[in-house]
Symmetry: C2
Subunit: 202 residues, 2 copies
């Protein structure tokens, strides 16, 4: 049995990423796998692919807003769509990589869960810097350090490099999973991922 | 328990529609439901929504071609992507509605399965009229009658009306299911549909 880690790409602004973030670790652990989390910006992939947010298309918008919440209920994950959606999440993502690179990857993962839950379970607008600083404070970060991190050109470059690498790997949406070189896109690929982890390629 | 029929919208050119067409009847029957099949053209919805085929976007194209076949294997449905894809399927859809309106809805459903399998299991190009006539012949139709049907302005108008009604109902992709007024989009909503049929709204 291989134990190669699962690469999990997510955007803080993606409701399906939030749902998947609540099940991927337990699923991976049941199959002896670890998860490498990658905070990224869908906006970067959208520029390359000409895809837009599902809520930016007529008809698909209404369906998606309904499906986000229904898919969350189906997965047993509390989700209430925030009033403002989608939002810019580059600062939340830069904090992720700052913690990942300067503290520990596990701390970054905890931040990812904390941020995603703030937005999708409690409706906190992560694109509002004052609100984001409060979320940082709740998480035990020093707000001045957090703000310095998201304004740091080095952190900005790090996130751009992550986006570029994701695109180079074929990532065009979120959540996106790479497992043993096999790509899976979407919270709704959960059952295919489960079969892959159980029985290998199919 | 309600026994309202499931509305199932499909496009002959949609691989995910083909996969769903192979499981929807059995799933519905297990829950005492019937299925109303609606042949439609995604091209009509694309005009309204500005959505394009998944294979028309960079990166998403490569993923989708891989996912079509993997999702078919996952569902136990034989699928081999045809060389030419996507294709125009208005003539196959007009035959569907001709059989539906002039013969019997069950005969139209059999035609749907026959046509979808011809394209996705055997690679027959349904947009080629000579090939389509052969598929009609195999199905026991008179080729001259079939050709007359797809050229008949009344059949063309019927298909346009179906597309318009689908769009009015919120359909923007295929396969698309309406169950008790609840919309489900995609072959990958199968498990949500199953729960809905078992336990009702969630």
């Amino acid at each position: 049995m291989t134990s190669a880690p699962i690469a999990f790409y997510f955007d803080f602004s993606s409701p399906y990423s939030y749902i998947a973030s609540e099940w991927i670790e337990a699923l991976a652990a049941r199959h002896g796998r670890t998860v490498q989390w990658h905070a990224m910006l869908l906006g970067a992939t959208f520029q390359v692919t000409e895809i837009r947010s599902p809520v930016s298309y007529p008809l698909k918008r209404e369906y998606s807003l309904r499906d986000f919440e229904r898919s969350a209920r189906f997965a047993g994950v509390p989700l209430k769509m925030p009033e403002k959606f989608p939002i810019a999440t580059q600062n939340a993502a830069r904090i992720f990589w700052w913690l990942h690179d300067s503290v520990h990857s596990a701390r970054a993962v905890d931040w990812a869960r904390h941020g995603l839950r703030a937005l999708f379970a409690r409706g906190v607008d992560l694109s509002d810097n004052a609100a984001l600083l409060n979320v940082c404070r709740d998480f035990g970060l020093d707000p001045a350090q957090a703000e310095a991190a998201w304004n740091d050109p080095q952190r900005k470059a790090r996130l751009r490099a992550v986006n570029d690498a994701a695109i180079a790997a074929g990532v065009f949406g979120a959540p996106f999973f790479m497992i043993d070189g096999e790509p899976f896109w979407g919270n709704d690929r959960r059952s295919q991922i489960e079969r892959w982890l159980e029985k290998g390629p199919f």
